[in-house]
């Protein structure tokens, strides 16, 4: 566990969040400190400059008043001022005092050889460890230079730098740790979720992810995952039921076959008797084969999208084919079977499957309609022209209100759907297949019924979006086009 963690440690969200967090904090703090330090330095320097400029102005005024600056009293006063000045290392230098170009400096003034050359009038510059300002007078060539040591500022700055460095060091150490801790707090629900998800098993789908009620993204994710689990659980449940039902349904004909054979073998029989038994067995296997192919058809249509290429299908063609197919049967039973309204409708999908839907509906109608009844098939366009509506209406025995909600369930057979003489019992899959096919085509199927009066089955299918003109020869032919996934039509 630990080694696995170490291996992927640098890939975890927690680690990455911590690194990003620390980098941002460190960079931002360093930037701020740097800006602060520079501003401070700038402030100190400009204060110093201000003082120096003030001083040089004052000096200019006092010197100008006398015109000459070699008054020992003036110089003495300057010396005193240099000692008493609030700025450490303040000094004054006067050049070209007299015509001979002599120089006087206050006590403690440093040698600054290039000063005269470098500086402009009343513009402070840094020279070595000093800040100087000088002023040249037009008259008499007197140059006044005021300067001050930069040492105090440098000392202040290095103290500040030292502190800033300490702060940075602290940040470098603390930021990743804090970031890691914070990221841990933020990603903790992930870990919970991963743990809970790892515990999920197909056999134990009642487990759900914890929802903390904070309604943040993670909660939303957990809720979505839970919804998905609900759907999967429901799906698996129906699948399990279906499988159990299918096995059960297969068992009955198998039992019939087995017992028939066993009874036949119990004693010696005449060839005619054997023949009869074997023919009975053939019928039973035909039933089994029918059930299996219906199950396969159901599985095929349930697979959400058609694997066969879709084509444009003219519904009326299918209806007339089905009527042709069943007309003799209906006639034999004294039932009228007819198409009452035939709008020209093209839908897109699988021709075979759609025809199976119509066949199943008509077959059901015939099964439950007594002699003298009427079965009407109509194909109409919905008022807003978006859907094709196929109706199969019969005047049969109808479906009771308690059965009606279940008719699309697999293997559901109404108690009254007993086979007539000479007919095999239905598989109970016919309407399930209808529903599955219709849903695969993005449509709906509904039933309304009144017991004793009749049933109306309504299939709605989206009309094909096609530019094929109404009377095209391509009608009902295979214009191959991939079928859109029916999944969108949930």
């Amino acid at each position: 566990m630990l080694s696995a963690r170490n291996k992927y440690f640098t890939k975890t969200i927690r680690f990455r969040l911590a690194v990003w967090n620390a980098s941002v904090v460190i960079l931002a703090s360093m930037g701020t400190l740097f800006v602060l330090r520079e501003s401070l330095r700038f402030a100190l320097m400009s204060e110093l400059d201000q003082v120096l400029i003030e001083d040089i102005r004052e000096l200019a005024l006092s010197l100008d008043a006398g015109g000459r600056a070699d008054d020992p009293q003036v110089l003495e006063a300057l010396n005193r001022k240099a000692q008493a000045h609030e700025l450490h290392g303040w000094f004054v230098r006067l050049s070209n005092l007299r015509e001979d170009g002599g120089t006087w400096s206050s006590n403690g003034a440093p040698e600054l050889t290039d000063a005269m050359r470098l500086s402009r009038n009343k513009f402070p510059i840094s020279l070595g460890n000093f800040r100087i300002v000088q002023d040249r007078y037009e008259r008499g060539g007197l140059t006044v230079l005021v300067g001050s040591s930069l040492l105090p500022i440098q000392q202040d700055m290095s103290r500040i730098d030292g502190n800033a460095l300490l702060i940075c060091l602290g940040l470098v150490l603390v930021a990743p740790l804090c970031g890691y801790w914070l990221a841990g707090r933020a990603t903790h629900p992930f870990a919970d979720m991963i743990h809970a998800t790892a515990l999920l098993r197909p056999a134990k789908l009642s487990e759900r992810l914890p929802v903390r009620g904070t309604n943040d993204e993670l909660d939303q994710l957990a809720q979505q995952v839970n919804k998905l689990l609900d759907r999967i659980a429901l799906y698996l449940e129906t699948k399990r039921d279906f499988l159990a039902n299918a096995a059960h349904e297969l068992r009955t004909p198998l039992a019939a076959i087995r017992s028939t054979v066993e009874v036949a073998l119990n004693e010696d029989r005449t060839p005619e008797e054997y023949q009869s038994v074997l023919e009975g067995l053939l019928d039973e296997t035909a039933n089994l084969a029918n059930l299996v192919s219906q199950l396969l058809l159901l599985a095929e249509t349930e697979a959400d999208c058609l694997t066969v290429a879709a084509e444009f299908v003219e519904l009326n063609e299918l209806v007339s084919q089905s009527i042709e197919m069943f007309a003799p049967v209906a006639e034999d039973r004294g039932i009228q079977l007819r198409a009452t309204q035939c709008d020209s409708l093209i839908v897109e999908g699988s021709r075979l499957h759609l025809r199976q839907v119509i066949i199943n509906l008509v077959e059901n109608a015939i099964k439950f309609t007594p002699e003298g009844g009427l079965i009407a098939i109509s194909t109409t366009r919905q008022e807003d022209h978006s859907r094709a509506v196929l109706r199969v209406t019969d005047t049969g025995s109808g479906i009771s209100a308690e059965d009606l909600p279940h008719i699309f369930e697999r293997f559901f057979r109404s108690d009254r759907s007993r086979p007539r003489q000479g007919e095999t019992r239905g598989t109970g899959l016919g309407l399930s297949i209808c529903e599955s096919v219709v849903q695969m085509h993005g449509g709906t199927i509904t039933a309304t019924s009144q017991a004793g009066k009749g049933t109306e089955m309504t299939v709605m299918l989206p009309l094909a979006t096609t530019d094929v003109p109404e009377r095209s020869i391509l009608y009902g032919k295979a214009l191959r086009k991939p079928l859109p996934h029916a999944a969108s039509a949930e």
Binding site: L278, E279, T285, L288, N290, S293, T307, P328, R355
Partner: protein
């Protein structure tokens, strides 16, 4: 006919061989794909009956290898997978016909004859079965010199029965022929259609031509 049967299921293989031999064919039965491929490519057969799921070389590969070797023996594919896609794949790989399990034995023999005939002679313009003649070009049906009126469905059904004259035709085969669907409904649709046809063909004649074989299907048979 000399037939090669490649089928790994013992029970099915045994019964098929017995059935084919009893219908007068020579049947060579192998249960392994590789062996089947060897035989089919080295010996001459009238037709090959090939299962798709085989040990050794799978059926689809046998199909494509035989066809790429230029061997044109008619091949009838048997398989448990019966979806449209599977059929299309099989036919693309070079099968002549496709039969999904479970199938009626009579359907197997009928299809075998059909694929052999297809590779040999052109379809006849006129089908005859004892006193009954069916003209495919004029679409007229005549029995004993008397013309019989049939609906298109009935005509198509009779044509199918007469093509397989003397052989049992199952309800499923008829359904597939008439409505291109391998659907065998719960209601007796085919029976009713057959009864109508029978009423037109056999009514008023002493000898019934269309006979029902219980549990199997129908046959048109003239003495």
């Amino acid at each position: 006919m000399d037939l090669l049967l490649v089928e790994d299921d013992a029970a099915l293989g045994k019964s098929l061989r017995q059935g084919l031999e009893e219908s007068g064919h020579n049947c060579n039965w192998v249960r392994d794909g590789g062996r089947g491929l060897d035989l089919a490519s080295s010996q001459r057969y009238d037709a090959v009956i090939l299962d798709l799921m085989l040990p050794g070389v799978p059926g689809m590969e046998i199909l494509s290898r035989l066809r790429s070797q230029g061997i044109g023996t008619p091949i009838l594919v048997l398989t448990a997978k019966g979806s449209v896609d599977d059929r299309v794949a099989g036919l693309h790989a070079g099968a002549d016909d496709y039969l999904a399990k479970p199938f009626a034995f009579s359907e197997l023999t009928a299809r075998l004859q059909a694929i052999c005939r297809r590779s040999q002679i052109r379809p006849a313009q006129k089908l005859e079965s004892g006193p009954l003649t069916l003209d495919l070009t004029t679409r007229r049906v005549i029995r004993d010199g008397k013309e019989i009126e049939l609906t298109p469905t009935e005509f198509s059904m009779l044509e199918f029965l007469m093509r397989y004259s003397g052989q049992v035709v199952t309800r499923k085969m008829l359904c597939e022929h008439l409505w291109e669907a391998d659907w065998e409904g719960v209601t007796n649709v085919i029976e009713v259609h057959i009864n109508r046809l029978r009423g037109k063909i056999d009514r008023g004649f002493s000898e019934p031509l269309i006979q029902t074989i219980r549990g199997r299907g129908y046959v048109i048979r003239a003495k």
